[in-house]
């Protein structure tokens, strides 16, 4: 983060559709250069929140401030500070990438040499320079997504709102999009990255705002949120015999073990201190005559944090 200036602020945003309250009084702020993930399952209210921030939807209550004041009307020049990557592809498939960018550039008042330079720059970011003259309809899904991103970057916005930019993208293009976002983050852009993929937020963002059922249920750094699930590592073991209650109780008493879960011959243990707890756990099992056929460990993740906060995984939601 470059400084502490708040560049985007949502306060008490509320939006209802009939009896359904899609967004219920959410508030958060982004500081300059911050990259925050807006995380939540499908239907959590993320896209509605983005639509209100962009001015596409009028909130029932609450305000949005860009650099300290609300947007005033369709032609507010501060819109140039914002770049939106919509969830749905927003490109004309019957136009080439270059023609698409020329059109979107003109909407932001770009022209001449400056437009040409910006087009070249964003085509480079999207990895589409070689195919810039081809119609977008002939692109792969991943290439279209990258063009979708490039169009949002064309006017060099300081604040980027990315609404699930990797939906339906192949791994190669997804990685390309990640690299582009990491480069933008390194340039000091302020980014609000909406997704329901926890691992994307973990990779890209400093901070995560977790939404569920229209509410913000957590807003913290990624590390802070992970710590809410558990602080150490998870150990998963497959044993060669079923585990009795007495064995399980013994495991619970081992120092550094936070929780124990048993299902047949599968044992899941969350540790606060993996290096101490893991040898003690294996020794305990050996002492009970239990062998281990398979063992794996995993770090605490936002998925665990979401599970801890809501009692369910994000994909169950």
């Amino acid at each position: 983060m470059d400084d502490n200036t708040i560049v985007l602020e949502a306060a008490g945003l509320t939006k209802s559709y009939g009896t359904l309250r899609a967004v219920d009084g959410i508030s958060f702020a982004l500081r300059r250069g911050e990259c925050a993930g807006l995380l939540g399952p499908n239907g959590a209210g993320k896209s509605t929140a983005i639509a209100m921030i962009m001015g596409h939807l009028t909130p029932d209550a609450g305000t949005v401030r860009i650099e300290g004041s609300p947007l005033s009307g369709d032609c507010d020049e501060r819109k140039r500070r914002l770049g939106l990557v919509p969830q749905d592809l927003a490109i004309y498939e019957d136009l080439s990438a270059r023609e698409n960018l020329r059109f979107f550039g003109a909407l932001y008042g770009l022209e001449g040499r400056h437009l040409a330079e910006r087009m070249d720059a964003v085509l480079g970011i999207a990895g589409l320079r070689d195919r810039a003259g081809d119609r977008a309809g002939r692109y792969s899904g991943g290439m279209k997504r990258r063009l979708n991103l490039a169009a949002a970057l064309l006017h060099d916005p300081q604040i980027l709102l990315l609404d699930e930019p990797t939906v339906g993208v192949d791994p190669q293009s997804r990685n390309s999009i990640f690299e582009a976002i990491e480069a933008l983050r390194a340039e000091g852009k302020t980014i609000l990255y909406t997704t329901h993929y926890m691992e994307e937020v973990e990779r890209l963002c400093h901070r995560a705002v977790i939404m569920d059922h229209g509410h913000i249920i957590a807003d913290d750094t990624v590390a802070g949120l992970k710590a809410r699930g558990f602080s150490g590592r998870r150990v998963v073991l497959e044993t060669d015999a079923s585990l009795t209650d007495s064995i399980t109780e013994g495991i619970s008493g081992i120092a550094g073990i936070q929780s124990v879960s048993v299902s047949g011959q599968r044992l899941e243990v969350e540790t606060s201190d993996f290096m101490d707890a893991a040898p003690a756990l294996l020794q305990h099992l050996r002492a009970q005559g239990i062998g281990v056929s398979h063992m794996e460990t995993e770090s605490a993740s936002l998925e665990h944090a979401f599970l801890s906060l809501t009692g369910r995984t994000i994909r169950d939601s």
Partner: protein, 435 residues
């Protein structure tokens, strides 16, 4: 509203249109093809052109000199294409729709027609066999038959050679007519007979002053002269002018539906979010869309008219300014119609279906398919309130009717009002916040 943004929207829409080959073909080629077909069907044919003559079948069951001459005169008539058949053939042919009308001259026609000319008697009955779907032609056939039959029979009964025979027969029937009426008729016929005898003697002696021309005959006491009247003495009716105007109007309205559908699709997609994210006013977005639609529609009309002028000989016999303005107004009508559809439409599918139905009704009642003068009067009165009628009438007025600019002012004002109304509805009903 920023002109650069407006130009960008228009330019983008034109590119999208041109890049969509199917749309270009549908908008440009199809109306030309259909208009050419309608124009050919409805275009008046040259009097000497075979296809323009009415087909008439004749069965002469009499075979008398009178009936033969009537058939001969019918055959020479430039409005008819006559062919001789037996009665059975005519009945079969009319029933099968091979000809619209057939005339059956009965046996004894010549004899009975002469004897019943001066006095009531047994009139011969000529049968007109008619295709029930083509009753207009039967009226024409009846009129032409009466014209030629009266001429032939009239000459026959007043000819010195044959006329006295019919007079003698008629005078016998007057023996049974009592009173002054019978006496007066007998006196008239006697006088006619004396005139015939004098004519006959003069002809036989070859004396000076004797008539040498054909015998006098009853005929229509006047001649008719057909004078096609338009607003410009050089203007001639060209059926292609109406069909090209009507079809191009129909297809630009259809194109308007596609513009509306694109706008609806944009509104439901991320494109609308991207457009709204940019510092662009709503007026610019809608005006840009409307102008691009109007521009493409106007170019479409220009190309259609260009084809009509170069290939089909259509000419602007009225005011060129009026012609251009009525076409421009029609293009703007299509554009405002598109905006209104996008404003009130919910789903793409439903909007397209209802809009196509609406356009077909509008162009049908507007006289774009067939001229509105063939509608019943009550329907013609209703169509006075339909914008397509104003457009079609305006185009007809400026092309084949050759009317002056002043006649297109009212249609232009009416269309302008309609464009404004559609625009207001679009602005009022348009859901800016997307779906």
């Amino acid at each position: 509203m920023k002109l650069r943004q407006l130009a960008a929207i228009i330019s983008k829409d034109v590119r999208l249109f041109l890049n969509n080959r199917a749309s270009v073909i549908l908008t440009l080629v199809v109306p030309i093809a259909i208009a050419s077909f309608f124009g050919y069907v409805f275009a008046p044919k040259s009097p000497s052109g075979g296809s323009g003559r009415m087909k008439l079948w004749v069965a002469d069951l009499d075979g008398s000199a009178v009936s033969k001459e009537i058939v001969s005169r019918l055959t020479e008539d430039k409005s008819l294409r006559v062919s001789a058949h037996t009665e059975a053939e005519t009945r079969q042919g009319i029933a099968a729709g091979e000809a619209p009308v057939a005339i059956v001259l009965p046996a004894g026609f010549g004899e009975k027609a002469g004897s019943s000319f001066f006095t009531p008697g047994e009139k011969p009955s000529v049968t007109l066999l008619v295709d029930p779907s083509r009753t207009m032609e039967s009226g024409l056939a009846q009129g032409v038959l009466i014209q030629h039959a009266m001429a032939v029979i009239g000459r026959d009964v007043f000819s010195p050679g044959t006329g006295s025979k019919w007079i003698d027969q008629s005078m016998k029937t007057l023996d049974y007519v009592p009173g002054e009426r019978g006496a007066a008729t007998r006196e008239l016929l006697a006088s006619v007979k004396q005139w015939m005898q004098r004519e006959s003697q003069a002809g036989a002696s070859g004396g000076g002053g004797a008539p040498s021309g054909p015998a006098p005959a009853f005929s229509a006491p006047f001649e008719t002269k057909v004078e096609p009247l338009t607003g410009n003495k050089n203007a001639v009716y060209n059926g292609y002018a109406h069909s090209f105007g009507g079809m191009s109007l129909q297809f630009i309205l259809m194109f308007g539906i596609e513009c509306a559908v694109l706008l609806l699709q944009d509104r439901k997609s991320g494109m609308w979010k991207r457009l709204r994210a940019a510092p662009v006013s709503r007026a610019t977005v809608l005006t840009g869309r409307a102008l691009s639609c109007a521009l493409i529609a106007f170019v479409t009309m220009t190309i259609c008219w260009g084809f009509a002028m170069v290939v089909c000989g259509v000419r602007v016999h009225g005011s060129w300014a009026g012609f251009i303005l009525i076409n421009a107004a029609s293009a703007l009508l299509a554009a405002s119609f598109a905006l209104m559809l996008a404003g009130i439409g919910r789903s793409v599918e439903a909007t397209r279906g209802i809009a196509i139905f609406a356009v077909l009704i509008l162009v049908m009642l507007g006289g774009a398919w067939v001229p509105s003068f063939i509608f019943p009067e009550w329907l013609q009165n209703i169509t006075q309130f339909i914008p397509t009628r104003w457009a079609v009438d305006g185009m007809d007025g400026m092309t084949w009717r050759g009317l002056p600019f002043s006649t297109v002012v009212v249609p232009l004002l009416s269309l302008t009002g309609c464009i404004a109304l559609f625009g207001v509805i679009a602005w009022w009903r348009f859901r800016w916040q997307g779906e």
